[in-house]
Symmetry: C2
Subunit: 661 residues, 2 copies
């Protein structure tokens, strides 16, 4: 039986192919400063210069090393599902360049190698050494796992040994931790590969020490004379997720990406150690993030200042930051919460971010990217309102700080790892994506073969491949947005199958017991417990109506507005379809009829939604303000909604997710 994981999916495969054919080669050019008109990356130049042994100028941001590391990690995943000797040779060359820069003692960060090794470890807060190390560790593990090649892995093991000598609880060691979390989750990946307790211990140390008094960063600031850029900010050291010990943190605060990466490391350590206090901290931070500080697209980070969270229910649509990397980080976090406990809410949020706030970061041709993902755009404001200058009405080629594009690569190319997971004697299916997915459930290797047109419809066929019959629960996720659904087993005629073919309707978290006494809905999953025979087929039909949603009334920005969704997709209005001045457009009735139209030629193939709406007249004479004379004149218009992820692929114009009622 073919063990290989593979995505063969009408929706995702084209994106992955775009990334493989366009994104990966394009970003390799970018890393080598060979994209005309794009900001240079300096990545390869920095490593070559560092290997030369001579001090010199370091190009780009202090964390530039991480861009190539994320690219390498993405390449590793790509090779896993699509062997490509030419690409592998390029990657081997990149790794050679990295390893060549490693210092005799194992140190490997081009910024300090080029600008002065005497200053290394003196600004853990801002200079990203440990952050870059983390990304290189992830790349090393991924590259080893797909190719079996150890060069980068061995180099990183040596580097980790050095870090473990330099930083830690013992006298003479620096009692520090990174200003930008990442190495914590990377060390846990390394630990799962090596089983070396040292790797777990170091990750745990970084997490436990963070935010303890006396604050390491204050001490470091005194000793190294580093300036503290966030003196007057509302978040202070919480920008670095270091304002307090992690177990005392209950609100998602500060820099959103740093928050997500830290929470991932916390969840990994909690799972490996069974530390209940850490689990509770993860749960509190999850709830703060997704129940009070997350956009309907799964975007997070309400303010450009500090790329940060602000306060509960503060979700401005036009000045939002919503960095692509932060939504990706939320996907990472959700996946780890699922590993702690399979709950539908985690998968719902993972799916929301993936299909909306993450995917919107990339142009359909895979060559341009959003750093910021707004929910409301007026191109004039982007140009003329300094509060919105961080919001771009079109995706950019590359960025001086290019964290997002390679982050997209590594997530999309490893998407198969997010589809399902085994938990004891249950196989949970979290995402409905076509392909073959394998897992070891109990004592048997199970391969799920999935076919679906998801997210365009909710009809999913799964077949179970395994050596010999085995008893386990197949747990199919019932998304929060699906209020009617149906599960059928083995569409051959037969009594027990007919029993299954009836309609279940979700009875809320309480759960539901199926007629055969063995099918239960718990925490957002339908558990089908039985002895599975090779070739058993399951079909789940999720009712996927277009539906308007409202935000919690405490979200002032969305008061009197609704957003249109269908299945996992959030929709939006674009000027290209609906004209300018979208603030004058209203949905009209509370629940208008929605017409669904599949348009294979549009935006790579999308289901467009159409509703009858209202447009207020923009005719106005006289002064700027005038007495109310009845309601504004309106005319009925046909509104055309497209999936949010596909916006800004037809030139620049206005866009809105939240529309007046």
């Amino acid at each position: 039986m073919n063990q290989k994981q593979a995505i063969r999916d009408a929706f995702w495969s084209p994106f992955r192919e775009t990334v493989r054919r366009e994104g990966i080669p394009y970003q390799w050019l970018a890393l080598n400063d060979r994209v005309p008109g794009a900001e240079p990356s300096h990545w390869m130049r920095n490593f070559r210069a560092a290997a030369s042994g001579k001090p010199g100028a370091h190009g780009g941001c202090v964390f530039q090393d991480s861009d190539g590391a994320k690219w390498l990690e993405g390449v590793a995943y790509s090779l896993r599902s699509h062997p490509d000797p030419a690409l592998e040779a390029i990657a081997d060359g990149a790794i050679e360049a990295i390893v060549a820069a490693q210092q005799p003692d194992g140190y490997l960060d081009t910024y300090y190698i080029l600008t002065g090794l005497d200053r290394r470890w003196t600004n853990l807060r801002d200079n990203h050494e440990l952050y870059c190390a983390g990304h290189m560790i992830e790349a090393a593990v991924a590259y080893y796992e797909s190719t079996g090649k150890r060069a980068l892995l061995d180099a990183m093991l040596r580097y980790v040994d050095l870090i473990d000598r330099e930083i830690g609880p013992r006298r003479g060691q620096r009692h520090g931790y990174p200003g930008h979390p990442e190495i914590e989750l990377a060390l846990m990946r390394l630990y799962r590969l090596t089983g070396d307790e040292k790797h777990l211990r170091l990750a745990k140390y970084f997490i436990d020490e963070r935010g303890q008094k006396p604050l390491y960063f204050e001490q470091e600031t005194r000793e190294s004379g580093n300036d503290f850029p966030w003196k007057d900010s509302p978040f202070g050291y919480q920008y670095y997720q270091a304002g307090k010990p992690v177990r005392e943190q209950t609100d998602a605060e500060g820099h959103a990406v740093r928050a997500m990466y830290l929470y991932c490391g916390m969840a990994d350590v909690a799972r490996a150690t069974g530390d209940e206090s850490l689990v509770r901290a993860c749960e509190a931070l999850w709830e703060s993030t997704v129940r009070r500080r997350m956009y309907v697209t799964g975007a997070i980070g309400s303010s450009a200042y500090g790329e940060s969270f602000t306060f509960d229910y503060d979700l401005p649509n036009d000045t939002v930051y919503g960095e692509t990397c932060a939504a990706i980080g939320l996907v990472f976090f959700a996946r780890r919460m699922l590993a702690l406990k399979p709950r539908g809410e985690y998968a719902d949020v993972m799916e929301r971010a993936l299909y909306n706030g993450v995917l919107s970061g990339m142009q359909l041709d895979g060559k341009r990217f959003f750093y910021v993902n707004p929910l409301e755009v007026n191109p004039v404001a982007c140009a003329k309102d300094p509060n919105k200058r961080h919001v771009k009405p079109e995706r950019q080629k590359w960025f001086g700080c290019a964290c997002c594009p390679p982050n997209l690569i590594r997530l999309l190319m490893s998407l198969e790892d997010y589809v399902c997971s085994a938990d004891g004697n249950a196989l949970h299916v979290h995402l409905y994506i076509g392909g073959d997915f394998t897992a070891r459930v109990g004592s048997s290797d199970v391969r799920l073969h999935v076919e679906t047109r998801y997210p365009w419809d909710g009809d999913i066929c799964l077949s179970v491949e395994l050596e010999r019959p085995a008893s386990f629960a197949l747990a199919l996720r019932i998304p929060e947005w699906s209020h009617k659904w149906q599960i059928g087993l083995n569409d051959r005629p037969g009594a027990d199958e007919i029993a299954f073919a009836m309609v279940f309707s979700l009875q809320g978290p309480g759960g539901f017991v199926g007629v055969d006494g063995k099918t239960q809905v718990r925490d957002g999953y339908a558990y089908i417990e039985r002895e599975w025979k090779p070739g058993d087929r399951v079909r789940i039909m999720l009712d996927m109506p277009a539906q308007f949603v409202r935000a919690n009334p405490r979200v002032a920005e969305d008061a009197g507005k609704v957003a249109l969704t269908r299945g996992p997709l959030v929709y939006c209005l674009e000027e290209a379809d609906n004209g300018p001045n979208l603030h004058l457009v209203r949905v009209g009735s509370a629940q208008p009829h929605v017409r669904e139209r599949w348009q294979p030629q549009l935006l790579g193939g999308v289901t467009v939604l159409e509703t009858a709406g209202l447009r207020e007249s923009d005719e106005w004479t006289g002064p700027l303000y005038a007495p109310v004379r009845g309601a504004p004149e309106t005319q009925t218009v046909q509104l055309r909604w497209i999936p949010y992820y596909a916006w800004a692929n037809r030139g620049t114009g206005e866009m809105r997710v939240w529309v007046r009622e």
Copy 2:
């Protein structure tokens, strides 16, 4: 006949008394760094240090000299209407301190005197020398006009002579102009006093040279190596109002206060020279400001970044800048446009800014001030959203950059100068304020005695005092907000008076001819043309209903919202009266019944407005976003509206001007 101008008005006199009794002494303490807990001004310290002849540290902003100058100007007006030997002695002492710092060649700016005279004139763009000179000139003229004392005037005449030698069109002169306009309008005031053409010529030079290519500021930057702080801004040199020659400027752009002060100088020069091209530029900039870029409160400056204008109809209520000085500048500009041509629109805007966006800058006790005047406030957002950190939920004691408080003093203490003006053979009444106001109309000195409870009602009684009967037109302003009004003459019985006692209703700009064939409504004024006899009495009754207003539909921020006004006053909802989460409050019907209640004990005596409104429920369970199930639950509530100028006098809380329909 007593020629003295005097305001005796139930609304304004208390504010002026507060300024006289509290504001002026308090600000004198501030200028001398004697207000505990307030940021030091350094004003007096700088002058004493400058007079000492030794170089030393300069305290506060580079334009600190202007704070005391504006205070002195305000004192001059106060002495005019309320002689006060003790205060005059203090002012004389301040002037002594100023004059003592003047250099042998006439130079007088403490920043360069203390930090190095060799650098003077090398950064006209950012270092405010000419701006400070302008304010000192205004103070000198005002102080001379009220007290007859020449000390400061003579010092400034010498300083102006130096500036006139250093800067100008001739070879060897700097072909420069101020980065912050102000001296232009000040020189025109000086010119009206001295009649010296040199003063007009210099003002005209500053205006004509501004923005000409090659740009002086670029040249200066090259020669002096000054950094250009606005490289990456959307407005560039328009921040300084120097992006193009003034006659080519058609949009209000850049720093709002600089814009207003420049426009004032332009209007003054246009009036003195009859330059039609300059008049047209003023009219275009007026229209850009008030028809596309002004808040309903008369506030201007949509963005904190650069304290600047942004683009047409961009009027965010919560991130607004709306500096008090900018609204004051708009009042200055409006008054000068009235001098060019008496049109109701100019007076309407002057009144709108004065009663709302200007007055809101001062606490009722005269001791605390707003720099920023928002139309929507959530105190949590001020603390936690960096985009709103410039917005304060309560007025501050003093500012490191304290331009606004003394600007309020000088405007409020000279308010009598804004009430009426003579234009040829007509006496125009622009503002309805109680007191005695004199003007020379044609060949006769006329004194208007005005009695009214305005702005609480629209009933105004005027009596005309003059030596002997004279024929001229008394032009009474018909505010844009009054759609029904009535004028009566000499409430003694008599045929011709009865003819006047009928009701006029404004027929739009086309104008209206009264029954006696001599009363016309033109451009917002009712012209009563007749032979006026001593003691003639006129009564105008303006219908002053509370009315909801709408913004031009292109103002996205106000779409679906209305504001409540009554007469010249804009009203608002405060948390103190209406509870928190004001975004959930709705007006309900398009034109609800408004109940007016005079409350003498509240906020110094205000008419409160009450309407029945709706409040949407904030009850919500489950995730942050949920499918729409019909309209949100609402309950009927009693809304209590207070005048905007009086907000934030009862502790901190939410406030809103624009409320959902």
